[in-house]
């Protein structure tokens, strides 16, 4: 049984991405007890899957490392990975959450030596790389994983491969008898920071994501550009592994569309502008980017970033929402549409198409196991009716990293106020 000591002066943070980590750290560094729950095997969330951040184009490793260090140093944060909240009952100052913890099959003895990974033969989809590649069924979720501990994929449990992993481990860390368990956790306030997921690109039928290999999403493009990604940082197109030197970026892929996502996902314009830098970094003057857009929304203070990209001769801007994509006989995607600056009909051939895919909440507010007020897209609204359950980061709004951290800090403050009230009442 997993022992979790929690009282109604504990803050429960659901989601261990950049928002959840921030909320947990801010609360813990103010002296509050925190339980941080993460669905995946490691903290970091979507941020750990980025190659670079805008606007400074530094690597997320840096920001995450600082946060991981803060987490390690703080005794007030208790982290549960592979854990999901299945129910919340109670009222502000007195909640009880049911948390289901899936087995990792690897215990605290793990030193991340990698012997189990070498021993097993089964390969499974590499979720960290958006299934662009495969990993061994005993794996470290990513280079930056925290906790730095292997996971054994449940699909090989009961097979000889699992026994190989156990036999290979010199530290007695592989425990194939681990079972799923459900624990009850007390909390005075809850910060809900379950983040976002990319919209299902298959639903945007005219773009053929399901039919054409060379139509990918922006999150997949991040992995292609990352040296730790499936191609070792080379921008190779999926159909034939050729270098993709002429890339089209389609903005509002799913966003701002009553048929898909009603809202503007805010980050996609900046993400594509950032990704034109990857093209330049990879291919220099040979790397051509074309951005198809309705209008560029370089959120907040990033207009200068946009203007710099606009001045780059290798980046072309076409004001048009692409109507449809077809594939020519060489597997090149051909984009059809009409531009709005002159109403010219075009049929443009590119090596690769990147859909600047929209954001939707990972857990829509309606699926949160508590009464939560949400907007029409399923993001959490700030509302008295939510009691002491506070939305943070992309669970509350489509936000970039910077603003997610601000949102998380704000929700940590709200949670702290509830805990302080409880503490005063209890004297």
């Amino acid at each position: 049984m997993t022992e979790v000591v929690a009282t109604n002066q504990t803050i429960l943070v659901v989601g261990g991405g950049i928002s959840g980590m921030t909320a947990a750290l801010e609360a813990a560094e103010c002296g509050k007890e925190v339980v941080l729950i993460e669905k995946n095997a490691a903290l970091g969330g979507r941020v750990s899957q980025l190659y670079r951040y805008f606007p400074k184009l530094c690597h997320p490793v840096c920001g995450l490392e600082i946060n991981q260090r803060r987490v390690k140093q703080n005794k007030r944060i208790r982290i549960l990975t592979l854990a999901e909240v299945t129910g919340i009952t109670g009222s502000p100052g007195d909640y009880t959450a049911s948390v289901r913890i899936s087995p990792r099959y690897v215990n605290e003895n793990c030193t991340a030596c990698g012997d189990c990974g070498n021993a097993v033969e089964t390969m499974v989809d590499d979720a960290f790389n958006y299934n662009l590649g495969k990993v061994k069924a005993a794996y470290l979720p990513s280079k930056m994983s925290y906790p730095q501990r292997y996971v054994i994929d449940p699909s090989i449990i009961g097979t000889p491969d699992a026994d190989k992993a156990k036999a290979a481990c010199k530290y007695g860390a592989v425990d194939l008898d681990m079972q799923e368990e459900t624990v009850q956790i007390k909390a005075g306030a809850v910060v809900w920071a379950t983040g976002w997921k990319p919209y299902d690109a298959n639903k945007i039928q005219p773009y053929g994501y399901d039919r054409f290999d060379n139509v990918i999403t922006s999150v997949e493009f991040e992995r292609l550009s990352d040296p730790h990604g499936p191609t070792g940082g080379k921008i190779l197109r999926p159909s034939d592994g050729k270098e993709a030197k002429n890339v089209a970026f389609i903005q509002c892929a799913g966003s701002r569309d009553e048929n898909h996502l009603r809202h503007c996902s805010r980050i996609c314009c900046m993400a594509s502008l950032k990704q034109t830098h990857y093209m330049r970094e990879a291919f220099g003057d040979e790397g051509k980017s074309t951005i198809y857009y309705i209008d560029i929304r370089a959120i907040d203070r990033f207009e200068d970033f946009y203007q710099k990209v606009r001045a780059d001769a290798n980046v072309k801007f076409i004001k048009s929402k692409v109507a449809r994509i077809v594939e020519d006989k060489n597997g090149n995607p051909v984009l059809h549409g009409v531009d709005t600056e002159g109403y010219h009909r075009y049929a443009n051939t590119h090596d690769l198409v990147v859909l600047a895919i929209g954001m939707e909440p990972s857990v829509k507010a309606a699926s949160i196991p508590a009464e939560i007020v949400s907007d029409s897209s399923g993001f959490i609204e700030q509302d008295q009716a939510n009691g002491a359950i506070f939305g943070a980061g992309c669970a509350a709004n489509p936000l970039d990293v910077n603003r997610s951290v601000q949102s998380a800090t704000a929700s940590a403050l709200r949670a702290i106020q509830v805990i302080n009230r409880v503490a005063r009442a209890e004297g």
């Binding site: 701002r256 009553e258 549409g337 009409v338 109403y343």
Partner: protein, 200 residues
């Protein structure tokens, strides 16, 4: 240069007088309608261009355009429009306004067919398929009519076999019982429509 150029008079007119015209201001100029239209390359103005022209007050250019007459009501644009504009309906509404204002392009085949169909239908309350097709064939003169009829011969024979085209209809054809009631109804409907759209 007069300030009138910048007023939104024509947009207001469209909002009042065109079916679903109140949607025109919602267009965000993404261009998906134009790119999705199967007739796209054959129009003078794409839907998003028409909407922008309306907002720019280009009354004459819009109402004399042949674009809205080219719409085949396939509804591709309507299902794709990210703002759910009823583009097909707006196009038909604009076509109607242009006809009522007498601005539609001369010899526009769709407009001619529409008129023939209407006259044919309102006469007896039923469509006389035979007279309708003959009327369409012979609209450009006798010899052209014969040519058209010969070219469409197999279709005509097929329709006759399927009992969709009765040669006896040439003698006047079938109709409804209460013709005067029918015309009274149409007259009232037109009155109401004219009053609503300020078309009288």
């Amino acid at each position: 240069m007069s300030i009138e150029k910048y007023r939104k008079n024509f947009l207001k007119e469209v909002e009042e007088r065109v079916e679903e015209g109140q949607w025109v201001k919602m267009c965000m100029q993404c261009g998906v309608c134009a790119g999705s239209c199967p007739f796209g390359p054959h129009w003078e103005h794409t839907p998003q261009k028409i909407f922008m022209m309306i907002r720019a007050g280009k009354r004459e250019e819009v109402l004399t355009s042949d674009s809205m007459w080219m719409c085949t009501s396939c509804y591709n644009c309507v299902v794709r429009c990210p703002r759910k504009l009823p583009i097909t309906h707006i196009m038909h509404g604009l076509a109607y306004l242009s006809k009522r204002e007498g601005l539609m392009p001369k010899n526009q085949p769709t407009a001619q067919f529409g008129q023939l169909f209407w006259d044919n239908l309102t006469k007896n309350g039923r469509v006389n398929e035979l007279k309708l097709s003959l009327g369409m064939y012979f609209k450009d003169g006798f010899s052209q009519g014969i040519k058209n009829a010969m070219a469409m011969q197999s279709v005509g024979m097929g329709m006759m076999k399927a009992k969709r085209l009765n040669p006896m209809e040439i003698l006047g054809g079938h109709g409804i019982k209460d013709k005067s009631g029918f015309s009274a109804m149409l007259k009232k409907a037109k009155e109401l429509e004219d009053a609503r759209r300020k078309l009288a």
